[in-house]
């Protein structure tokens, strides 16, 4: 980029750059943005960033940081500049995700019923059974319309070649969609003309689409189903999102103590008496959802819910036991699943993954810890993770011990150069690593709102984009 403000600090590196084609030329779909940025008076960007931050604060769009002080509320850092995707790029993403989610859903149905994929030896049986999120309680249970995963948030990254790849499937209770919607609202307020001149596809219908998806799961004969959103409560880090989605859909936001199971039917306690509940969009993890079936010390769940669910009197989204399919070791087999169930080649590739339960792969990983990323299979949010190139000798020794003690619990991947996008930092534009989490809904059919949450690693050089670890986010534009 020519040496003009605000681009002076912006450098092209080895990672794929979302903005620049070569050091002097922006990519065609970023040209308009780059021009507009050059024209703006120097303080204008800072002024707009302030306006955006204030908008988030006033609306109370916050998440909770767990700590001593009865939950501290913070805003999720928002970066002013949009991340832009072309129609062609989006088309690939959309088809790839639809294919992947279809296969994962078939896989879940299969392992809880006929187990054809295990019998065929495509996925090792012990890998499935040893998964912490495999739920024996779900064996032989038929779920409404065979939809195990109705709400998915898949993490994509862009490889140096420009191709998108899947880093993680989040099939339990993916969060962040409220930030996607809030980012867009603030963006439209802060950069109205730029937004209008670009031709960006709308995401405003997400609430309706989610409601339609949940409605499609209603038990038979319940033509006007009562849908609720089950939250762990006000101290949960995503509580804001729960209130936001409940309001968007116009459904009740309930806690475990609001629900009662009687004769295998779920009711909510209202001022007008008990009212039957047909579909529960639950944002409570499996293990806490029913103290009779899972953790008996859970205060967040509903006693008897699993039995009501097995009786087919209530639908849950997502189904129970879906975590087995986003286990990071099972992840390695998703391309094989796509081949097995759909007889297709995966449109979106996986990232190369080493399974540490395999002796040869483990030896390789233990010799190359300083260049690999090691992750625990059942964790999310960037916890229990080693980034080799950024680690100390001591941390590597610790992970070596942990891997040897419990090899099934870890996988390793090469350290990936996530693509970089321009961010407004300290009055200048700088390149920061980003990923992309689109939100997939699977009701009558698969639908994906064109966009997603682009998460940014705001610390220079950092590869960790999680909100709990110093990440921020951007609005994501998909063009017509």
């Amino acid at each position: 980029m020519p040496d003009v403000a605000p681009f002076r600090q912006y450098q092209l590196e080895t990672a794929y750059d979302e903005l620049l084609l070569n050091p002097n030329t922006p990519r065609p779909h970023y040209r308009l943005l780059a021009e507009r940025l050059r024209e703006l008076p120097p303080d204008e960007l800072a002024r707009r960033q302030q306006a955006a931050d204030l908008a988030f604060l006033n609306q109370g769009i916050t998440f909770t940081v767990y700590g001593r002080d009865e939950g501290t509320e913070r805003i999720f850092p928002y970066d002013l500049l949009p991340r832009i995707l072309t129609a062609k790029e989006w088309d690939t993403i959309e088809r790839g995700l639809a294919q992947r989610v279809t296969a994962l859903n078939l896989f879940l149905r299969d392992i809880y019923h006929e187990e054809t994929i295990l019998k065929a030896g495509i996925v090792p049986r012990e890998l499935v059974y040893s998964c912490r999120h495999f739920s024996r309680q779900m064996r032989g249970v038929s779920v409404p319309r065979d939809r195990y995963i109705s709400i998915v948030g898949t993490d994509l990254i862009r490889l140096p070649s420009g191709q998108f790849a899947v880093l993680e499937d989040n099939l339990r209770v993916p969060s962040g969609v409220s930030y996607m919607l809030a980012n867009r609202l603030v963006m439209k307020r802060v950069f109205p003309q730029l937004f209008a001149s670009y031709g960006v596809r709308s995401i405003d219908h997400y609430g309706q689409a989610l409601l339609a998806t949940l409605r499609s799961l209603a038990p038979q004969g319940r033509s006007d189903p009562t849908i609720v959103l089950l939250t762990p409560g006000v101290f949960n880090s995503a509580y804001y999102e729960h209130t936001f989605l409940a309001r968007q859909m116009g459904v009740e936001l309930v806690e475990g103590r609001d629900l009662i199971v009687h004769d295998n039917v779920v009711y909510m306690r209202t001022t007008a008496g008990l009212r039957r509940v047909d579909v529960i969009y639950r944002r409570v993890d499996d293990e806490f959802i029913d103290p009779l079936a899972f953790r008996h010390d859970s205060m967040l769940g509903v006693a008897g819910l699993l039995n009501a669910y097995r009786a087919g009197n209530v639908a849950l989204a997502n189904a129970l036991g879906t975590g087995v399919a986003d286990d990071k070791a099972i992840y390695a087999y998703v391309p094989a699943m796509i081949k097995f169930y759909l007889d297709q080649d995966p449109i979106l590739p996986n990232v190369e993954t080493f399974l540490l339960s395999d002796d040869r792969q483990r030896q390789h990983v233990l010799h190359n810890l300083d260049s690999l990323v090691v992750k625990a299979v059942g964790e999310s949010g960037g916890y229990d993770m080693l980034i080799g190139p950024h680690s100390t000798l001591e941390q590597r020794a610790q992970f070596r011990d942990r891997i040897i003690a419990n090899p099934r619990n870890y996988i390793a991947q090469p350290t990936l150069a996530l693509s970089k996008a321009p961010c407004f930092i300290d009055g200048q534009l700088e390149a920061r690593h980003v990923d992309l989490r689109p939100y997939i809904l699977f009701g009558d059919q698969i639908s994906i709102v064109p966009g997603g949450l682009t998460r940014v690693a705001l610390r220079r050089g950092s590869l960790v984009v999680n909100s709990s670890q110093g990440g921020g986010s951007k609005d994501t534009w998909v063009l017509y």
Binding site: N58, G233, R269, T270, T271, G273
Partner: protein
């Protein structure tokens, strides 16, 4: 509406009313003490503690008492505790109330958290009167202007007016129970004015009866006046209206008993005569009002909020 949500709304109403009441008592009494002897001030503090059903644990000096009633987080009746409890309830029903209401309540809470005893001590009027009471009035105005006047609104009102009816009855009871200090006409006058001001009813009283202060008229005004928003009768009317509205949403005859209780309280105030009430004993009458408020509260909970499952299966 979810019972848990109704519960939270009801307590937002009660806690905010309680905050306003305590703030006004402090404001009025601190101002009146300026005109009185230390002995009278001491008596005034004792009476304050009776109003609030609270006993200060220590040497009852004005500074310490004001601090305990304002900033002590360990005192559940302090202003900071009440506002905090209202806000915590609001946080749990944020999707039910308007954003403007939440923002105002949040602002009010932060304002109290930021305030210091130092500031209050030098400018009590500024802090208690302008800061808190206006803040709560603004919240009520915002509520009326931005929230649908449906069930949600009625739960807030129900809490507010049950709290008000009860607090006003206690206030009257404590005042009338004391032997009238006829010896000191001046102190006596200030006491009665203090009672009216504690209900922001001094000006309204003068409009009806002129500034001729007579205990019997005060009792009539604070108990039976149909138009003053501070009278017990007005509160009972609002309680009955809100309960009718809430019960209208329930099926069958579930709301009947609580509607009858509210109607009985309302009727006793609508048709009451102050001379008869005084002749029969004001104290007994006021005790009955408090008892009826308690009954309504209990029955509202049994009917709408924490009912046994068996009674509600359709």
């Amino acid at each position: 509406m979810l019972s848990r949500v109704a519960d939270s709304l009801y307590w937002i109403g009660r806690y905010l009313e309680r905050t306003e009441h305590t703030a006004r008592l402090l404001d009025v009494n601190l101002a009146l003490m300026l005109d009185q002897t230390p002995a009278a001030a001491e008596r005034r503090w004792e009476r304050m503690q009776t109003y609030l059903a609270w006993q200060y644990d220590g040497i009852p000096q004005t500074y310490a008492l004001v601090q305990a009633l304002t900033f002590d987080v360990n005192n559940p009746g302090s202003l900071v505790s009440c506002i905090g409890a209202a806000r915590e309830n609001a946080r749990q029903v944020r999707e039910q109330i308007s954003s403007e209401m939440w923002e105002q309540l949040n602002r009010l809470y932060l304002q109290v958290k930021r305030a210091t005893m130092e500031q209050l001590w030098h400018e009590p009027h500024e802090f208690l009167h302008n800061g808190l009471k206006e803040g709560i009035h603004l919240f009520q105005g915002i509520t009326n202007a931005t929230l649908s006047h449906g069930e949600c609104w009625h739960w807030l009102r129900l809490g507010q007016f049950i709290e008000r009816a009860n607090a006003t009855a206690i206030l009257l009871d404590v005042h009338f129970a004391e032997p009238s200090g006829a010896a000191d006409a001046q102190a006596n006058y200030l006491d009665w004015v203090g009672l009216l001001k504690s209900c922001t009813a001094f000006e309204a009283y003068c409009n009806v009866y002129t500034a001729d202060i007579r205990p019997e008229r005060i009792a009539e005004f604070l108990l039976l006046n149909a138009e003053s928003p501070r009278s017990v009768r007005f509160a009972a009317d609002q309680i009955a209206i809100s309960i009718q509205a809430i019960a209208a949403n329930t099926l069958g005859r579930r709301g009947d008993r609580v509607k009858r209780l509210a109607g009985r309280l309302q009727a006793s105030l609508d048709y009451g005569q102050v001379d008869e009430i005084m002749a029969d004993g004001l104290s007994g009458y006021l005790a009955s009002i408090q008892q009826q408020c308690q009954q309504i509260h209990t029955n509202v909970y049994q009917t709408f909020i924490s009912y046994p499952v068996e009674t509600a299966l359709v």
